[in-house]
Structures are given as C-alpha cells and as structure tokens.
Amino acid sequence: MQPKSDLPQGTLDLLILKVVALGPVHGYAIAQRLEQVSRHVVQVPQGSLYPALHRLENRGLLAADWKETETGREAKFYKLTAKGRAQLETETASWERLTQAVALIMKLSEGGAE
C-alpha cells in the first residue's frame, strides 16, 4: 500500500457535502464512502470527521435526524439542506477553478524546466 497523503486544508467540508448530497447517510457510512471513493489515496482522519459534521450542522448546511438503519439500529443520518446545496455548488465551482489554475501553473513550470 502506497503512503497516503493528508487532505488539503478545507477540503474535508467539501467532500462531506458531496457525499451527503447523494442522500441521507450516517457518519460511519460517510467515513466509509470517503475512504472508498478516494481509493485509499487520501487519509481521512476519522477523528476529525465528527467535529466537521457538527460544524456543518451548526452552520445550517446539514440537517440531522435519528433514523433506523437497515440492521435496525438507531443512527444519526445527515442530509443536505437547501443552504448546503447552494454552498456545495459554489464550493465545487471554486474548487474546479482552483484545480484548473493549479494544473495550468504546474504545466507552465514543467514547460519552463524543459
């Protein structure tokens, strides 16, 4: 297994919003999903997941409900609020702009090195 890199600052919130956007989901499932999707490349510290969830809930981007899971256990399910959806869109857009810009710069400097 390749060594995992740390998540860039501030992207955890975006990733959580993205995952929750797919439908109501509990904390553990979010952690699972993040790990699967990032294909074990990115290290998502589980310990910082919950504070992030609470912070997002506190800001009104996420709403939470206690519901039963398929196995009949009570769990806290998070879903996106309208405000959260809007935030996700703006953040996705700005993320894309940023990555494009970074990619461009990387290419430039490669070109310069040649």
């Binding site: 904390g27 952690a31 589980q46 609470h54 806290k76």
Partner: protein
C-alpha cells in the same frame, strides 16, 4: 436550533454525541470482525482509527459554537462554590461593594431625577422658553427677564414657528369653600395645557373665548387644592370658589404632580381676563412665556423669528422696548443651585466606590496569590491563559454583580428618606425615582467595578509561571505582588484622607458659621406671612386701616412684646433689589450699585433686635405728608459715604416710584445677614435700605399688602402665641390668614441646613472610607505577614525579639500609610478648592484641618495593622521552621 436551544438541550446533545460515536465504533468493529479479525483486535483497531473519544467529543463541542457560554456557566458555578467556601471573605467583599454601589446609586438617582431627566411633558425638546434680553437687565441677580404682556400678545400674533402660551404669577386668598387659605394663583393663557400637551384630570381647559377681558370667571384647580377643599370630589367641577371675594366657576382640575416653573399652584385663572393697568405697560415684564415648536419648525427658526419680532418692537416702542431683544431657548427644568451640591456629593460617593473597589481588589489579590498552586495546576492540565483570566474575571463579575444587586436594594430603601432629609426642598423631588436609567447605571458601575478590582488578580494569576509556583509551594511570594498590594492600600488611604479632610473642612465651616452673628436677635421672634381680608384690599384707605388694626390687635395678644409688619425677611426667600445713587447724576442702571429694600413699620427694629448705630428709626410721624425718609445699614453707609456721616444725605432710587425717587437718610442700623449665615459674606448685593410702609402711596397698597408679613417678638416661646395671634387677627369676616409660620431661630438654623447636611454626609462617607481602608490594611497585612511566617521563624531563631518582629510588620504598614497620607494631602488640597467653589461659607483649607484629621487616619490604620503585627510577634520559630 438556536444557540440558546443548543445550550438548553445540552444534556440531550451530550447523550446524542455519545450514541453517535458509539454507533461508529460498533459498525467499524462489526465490519472488521466480518473481515476475519479477532473481536479484541477489531475493537482496538476501531478505537485507534477514530482517535481518543474524549478529544473527538471536545472538538464536537467546540463545533457547537456555544462553548463560551458553557464555559461561562461553568466559571459561574465555580465562582459561587469558591465564594461559599470562604463566607467571611465573601461577606466583607459583598458588604463593601453593596455600600459603595448603593451610595453611588442613590446619588445618581438624584442626579438623574433632578438634572438629567427632561421635563415631564411629551416631546420636551420642542418646548421653548421666551425671554427678554437687554443691556440694562442684570441677569446674574434677577435671572432671565420675562416678557411684557403686550409684547407677549404681539409674539403670539406674529410667530409662525411657535405656539406660545403665557403664565403670570399671582396670589390671593380663597375664602370659600372651607377655611380661608392663601393661594398660589397662576393666570394662564387658554392654550397652556394644549401647548404642554397635558390633559386635565377632571373637566376641561379654558376656552379661547374665556381668555379675554370680560369673559366668564372660570378657574382650574391644582390637585392639592382640590384635595384639601373638595376632598377630591367630582362635584368640584361646576361649583364655585371665592378668590379674593370674586366668584369663579371651577371647570377643571390639573393632574396630580403637574408642576410648571418648579412649583405647585393652587388655582389657575384665564390670563386674558386680567385688566390690571400694569399689564398694559411694556416696561413691566411679568409674563413667563413658553411655547411649542410647530411641526417641522426648528429652534433656530424660532430664535431667528423672535429676534426679528423683538427688533420690530424695539423700533416701534422706542421708550419701553429700545435695546431689548427677545430670545428663545429650550425650556429646561428649574433646578436652582443644587447642581453643584449634587456634583460634589456624586464625586464623594465615587471616592467611596473607588475605595470599595480597591478594598475588594486587595482582598481578591490576597486570595489569588494563595490560590497560585491551584491556578498553576490548571495551567499544567492545559488551561490557556485567556481561560484563566476569564475564570478570574467571572469570579469578580459574580462578586460585583451580586454586590451591585444588594447595593440597588440598599439604594431603593434609602432614596426616599434621603430626599426627605435634603435641606430645604429638593427641586424636582417628585422625579427622583429608581428607573431603568438608574438600574443601567448601577449595572454599569458594578461591571466597571468588577473589571477594576478583578483585572489585577486575574492577570496576576495568568502570568505566574506554573512550574515555579508548583515547585515553590505556598512559600513563594514575589516582590511584585507585595508592591501591588501596597499600591491598593496606598490608594485606599489616599481616597479616605480626601474624604476625611473634606469632612474636616465642612466641620470647621459649620463651626465658624454657627458662631456668626446673624445681625438680628433671633430668639423669641415669630414671623408669618399675612393675607388681609380681600375686602380690605379693595380701597387703599381700608388697607391702611386694616394694617393699623392688625398691629394694634397683635400687640394686645398675651405674650407678645412688640409687633411689626415687613415685606421681606432676612434668611427667607424673597427680596426687593434696587439700584441707588448718591446724586441726581445717575449712570445707566446696570452700572449702579444695588441694595436690598425692605418696607417696615416703626417697631421693626425693636422686634428684630437690630441695633441703631446713628440717627433715628421711623416713627408714627413719617407719613404720606412728611418728607420721604429711609434708613440704611452700615454696609451701605460704608460703600456709599465712606467715613462721612450719612445722616441728612440723600439717595436717589430711580425705580422706587414715589417721593420723587429721592430719599433722605435719617438713620444707620447694623447690617443684617439677609442671605443667611453662610451666604451673606459672599452675596452680590448686601447693602440694605429700610423705608416706612406708612409713606407708601395708595397705588402701592394692594401689591405690598399681598407680600406682607408680620414679625412678633414674644415674652414666651414664640410658637406659644400662634393660636391666640391667629384668633386675634382673623378679621371681622374671619377671612384673614397667617401662613408660612416660622421662628427666626428656625430660619437662622435653616440657613445652615445645607452645610449641616453636607457635613453629615461627608462624615458618614469619611467613616465608611476609614473603616474600609482599615479592613483593607488589615487584610493585606494579615496576608503578607502570613506569607512571611517562615522568614519570621528564621529571624526569631537567629535571635530577633518579638518587638523587633512586630516593628518590622508595623514599619511595612507605616510605609504604606505615609505614602497614602502624602498623596492624599495633595488630593485633599484639591478637594478643598472644589469645596471653596461649591459650598457657601467655606474658607481656604487651613493646615490645622490636616493636623486634626491626618492623625485620626494614621491611628486607625496603625490599629488595623496591630493585629497582624501581634500575630507575627507570636510566631513560634520551632513550628514555623518545621513547616518548611
């Protein structure tokens, strides 16, 4: 959820957080087991990947955003616990603060009610007062000039920006219904109440058609008058009263507490119905004019407009209005001269409050130092500096706000008695109430005070070095703390000394003033204002006869030695000030000297016991047919004639209005302290002129009789003759009344009431300050000495005697005391200068005041230091060293 909902559901949220994390762990564990990992190992891995559960929880709590409040709540509870652990400390601190904040709150309530509150009418900022202004008018001695009636009418007609109303002061005797009573009358324009936007309690205001000559005689009653004469009966409306023998139909009653120009009136009548000739004279200015700005108009517009009207009047009526302008300004409450007294007292209570804060600060500091280990432990366990400062400040806030709450309760109980005890009548006393302004003020000073006494201990706590404190145990005491402690004690002593010296200055002032001779023999003299029967006022001849009759009847009353009539009294409100000159070649009136004029009957000197210095006093032969004469006092004799003999000289008194305004001086009498024992020396107008009532022409009889008083010298206790005097003077129709009855002794004593009152308060403040400073010194020394027990043990083991040890402690205290005295002496001198300006009769601070007060302070402070010193002297070296 709002932050407060989150806060309220704190337990539920904690529970949910726990369950959420547990669910995560269990799911993870289950999956790992399903993947073939042994249960114990699965649990370990699940826990590893989540991290420490308590840390995660803490972070989640932080994410809630209510952290600060939860901490505050925790700190609050902690503060309550620590205070409860040391009930003695808590009691002293709370009491100190309650006293300081309570006293300050009482004074602020007064300042707020008397000086800060606007007039109790709606939109008071739109109310405007109109005054006359001219170079001839001496505002300093007479106050603002009112307006001539005709000028007032012209203003009403011309002003577009103001709706103007007029008020004329008058008085009379109401003979029906009930007992005859002297009444304060206000003649008012019909729109007065609508201008003020006051609705009457009963009935209606005057109608415009009632507000002109020949209108139906109608009256509105004052609330108090309605209570006294109609027992608050509804039927008063429509019934009639007899005012100076004229029948008026009552149409309304003003609401309770309605006051204009500071006073309570008994009866209101329409101003327009008054046909007195003087109202037609533009040179006489009796009307108080006020107005309300019309919608959309500003004060500046009104000022410009009135200025213009005044200028037009000055051009049109050169003789009477030349050089006079009209000015408009915001109508403000009348507060007399209490402003400076209130400020002085507010300053004094602020000192008391500061002492209280310094006291609590030094107590807290002592405690903070003894809690050093606890605080160091907290730092070691991860508390941040900010967190510690917050915790300490929360403690002092709890202390400050509880002390403030107690203080407000104290103040609530003390305000009314305090107002009642105020010397004379406190202006606007009815406005002095504990309202939200006052509560806000109390809260503000509590919080400010908390910061003041909490900051030093809080920062002291946070900047100590934890590992040093932990290692050193309770023994370490930095020099910095000692200096800080000393600073508080020095501050307390400084402030206490200021109050002590101030009390000393006041005490000396009072002693000096009490010993002054008022210039009259105040023993066994009864004075009362007297209203003749209204019937006798109709004709001057009848009036003269009535006064003659009054003098004769009064002199026959058993116990009466002599009796006189007089218009104005020494040491009592009311005077007649006029310009005089010693030749016919007079400068403009505002350049001329002024004197106090008193119209008297011949026996006045005998009644008042005023010694005659030269010439003669008046007698029965000074009548309308004889040359007009006056008697002057020594002050006037000295200022006008110097060493020359004034007898036979003449004075020109241009506004006198009879005898060609030229009067021959027939006698010189001793100066009388008209302005009271305290005020007379500094009064602007001191010279006195007496003139015989008998020489007044007919035109004066009515007005002078309204102002007249009688003075009676008695052989027995003066109030003892009052009943029989009243009986003898009630007149044929039983409608003559004596009112405002006083003895001259009361008047003389009242003239020092303010000084006595201030002395009492400053005495109390100084005593409280002294007590607090002593508690402060005791606390600090006891603490510092306690810290030095091991050191003392070593000293004693090395051979220091008990006395030497005690002296060591006392010397430390003496150092603080002397520093405080040095600083305090300077501050006291400044306080003395303030007193000199504010309190009548004060003289520059004498060194003897310090000589008398400083030892008191030093003795008390040393006494407070003695207990800790003795304890230090009793230290057993063996035990002290074993503690090491």
């Amino acid at each position: 959820m709002n932050w407060w909902q989150r806060l309220l559901r704190r337990n539920k949220m904690e529970d949910q957080l726990e369950r959420e994390l547990l669910f995560h762990l269990e799911q993870n564990e289950k999956e790992l087991i399903a993947g073939g990992i042994a249960p114990a190992e699965a649990r370990r891995r699940a826990r590893m990947s989540l991290g420490g559960p308590e840390q995660v929880k803490e972070e989640c709590r932080d994410a809630r955003g209510t952290r600060w409040l939860e901490d505050a709540w925790q700190d609050f509870n902690y503060a309550l616990r620590t205070l409860r652990q040391r009930p003695g400390f808590a009691a002293i601190a709370l009491m100190t603060l309650a006293l300081g904040i309570g006293a300050t709150t009482v004074m602020f309530t007064l300042v707020n009610g008397v000086l800060l509150k606007p007039l109790p009418f709606s939109e008071p900022k739109k109310l405007v007062a109109v005054h006359g202004q001219s170079a001839q008018w001496n505002v300093e001695s007479f106050g603002k000039q009112n307006v001539a009636y005709l000028d007032y009418l012209d203003c009403v007609r011309s002003s577009k920006s103001l709706e103007l109303a007029g008020v004329l002061f008058d008085s009379g005797t109401v003979s029906e219904p009930g007992e005859p009573e002297y009444a304060e009358v206000r003649e008012i324009s019909s729109n007065l109440f609508s201008v003020l936007q006051v609705s009457l309690l009963r009935g209606r205001a005057f109608l415009p058609e009632e507000d002109h000559a020949g209108g139906p005689p109608v009256a509105i009653l004052g609330y108090g008058f309605w209570q006294r004469h109609f027992a608050s009966n509804e039927e008063a409306i429509g019934s009639s009263i007899a005012l100076d023998l004229k029948r008026f139909t009552v149409v309304g009653v003003v609401p309770r507490g309605f006051r204009l120009y500071g006073g309570d009136a008994d009866v209101y009548t329409p101003l327009g119905q008054d046909t007195a000739p003087y109202l037609q004279n533009r040179a006489v200015h009796p009307v108080h004019v006020l107005g309300r700005l019309r919608t959309g108009r500003t004060l500046a517009e009104a000022q410009a407009e009135l200025g213009l009207i005044g200028k037009q009047l000055a051009e049109e009526f050169k003789d009477t209005n030349g050089g006079r302008t009209l000015v408009a300004e915001q109508l403000l409450p009348e507060t007399g001269n209490v402003r400076s007294t209130l400020r002085l007292l507010l300053g004094a209570v602020t000192l008391v409050l500061l002492i209280a804060c310094a006291n609590v600060a030094s107590l807290l500091l002592a405690r903070a130092v003894s809690r050093e280990r606890e605080l160091a432990m907290r730092v070691a366990l991860g508390a941040t500096r900010g967190r510690l400062v917050r915790q300490c400040l929360t403690e002092s806030m709890v202390l400050g706000l509880s002390g403030g709450t107690l203080g407000v309760f104290l103040a609530a109980g003390a305000i009314q008695p305090f107002v009642a005890y105020w010397p004379g009548a406190l202006p606007r006393a009815q406005e002095v109430q504990l309202d939200w302004h006052v509560l806000l003020f109390a809260a503000a000073i509590s919080i400010l005070g908390s910061l003041l006494f909490g900051v030093a201990p809080a920062f002291r706590a946070s900047f100590s070095e934890p590992e040093k404190a932990l290692r050193a145990g309770t023994r370490g005491i930095a020099g910095g703390t000692r200096r800080l402690h000393s600073a508080f004690v020095v501050a307390e002593i400084t402030l206490a000394l200021v109050l002590l010296v101030s009390a000393g200055i006041l005490g000396r002032t009072l002693l000096r003033l009490s010993a002054l001779d008022p210039g009259v023999n105040v023993h066994n003299v009864l004075v009362a204002r007297m209203a003749l029967s209204p019937a006798t006022l109709a004709a001057p001849a009848k009036t003269r006869a009535a006064w003659k009759d009054v003098l004769e009847r009064a002199s026959r009353v058993p116990g009466v030695e002599s009796v006189a009539t007089v218009d104005t009294f020494p040491m009592r409100e009311g005077d007649n000030e006029q310009a005089y000159w010693t030749s016919a070649d007079m400068p403009p009136e505002n350049k001329m000297p002024f004197a106090l004029l008193t119209s008297v009957s011949p026996d006045y000197l005998r009644v008042m016991g005023i010694p005659l210095r030269r010439g003669r006093f008046f007698n029965e032969k000074d009548t309308l047919d004889s040359p007009p004469v006056i008697v002057i006092d020594e002050v006037l004799a000295r200022t006008a004639f110097g060493a020359q003999d004034p007898i036979g000289r003449r004075l020109w008194i241009p506004e006198m209005g009879y005898g060609g305004n030229v009067f021959e001086i027939v006698g010189v009498v001793r100066h009388v302290r008209h302005w009271g024992l305290a005020g007379d020396d500094q009064a602007k107008i001191r010279a006195q002129i007496y003139y015989p009532f008998l020489q007044l022409p007919d035109g004066f009889m009515h007005r002078w009789s309204q102002l007249m008083s009688i003075a009676v010298r008695t052989k027995i206790q003066p109030l003892g003759v009052l009943a029989s005097l009243r009986g003898a003077l009630k007149g044929a129709a039983s409608d003559q009344v004596l009112y405002d009855v006083r003895t001259m002794e009361q008047l003389a004593s009242d003239s020092l009431a303010e000084q006595r009152f201030l002395l009492l308060l400053f005495g109390i403040f100084a005593a409280v300050a002294l007590a607090m400073a002593c508690i402060g010194i005791y606390g600090v020394l006891a603490y510092l000495t306690g810290q030095r027990v091991p050191e003392i043990g070593i000293r004693m083991a090395l051979g220091a005697s008990r006395h030497r040890v005690m002296w060591m402690v006392l010397r430390q205290s003496l150092g603080m005391i002397l520093a405080g005295v040095a600083l305090g002496s300077g501050a006291s001198w400044a306080a003395g200068q303030v007193m000199l300006k504010t309190v009548e009769g004060t003289q520059p601070t004498e060194p003897s005041t310090f000589v008398l007060t400083v030892p008191i302070l030093i003795a008390a402070a040393l006494l407070a230091s003695f207990l800790p010193a003795r304890r230090a002297g009793r230290v057993d070296p063996v035990i002290a060293l074993r503690q090491e």
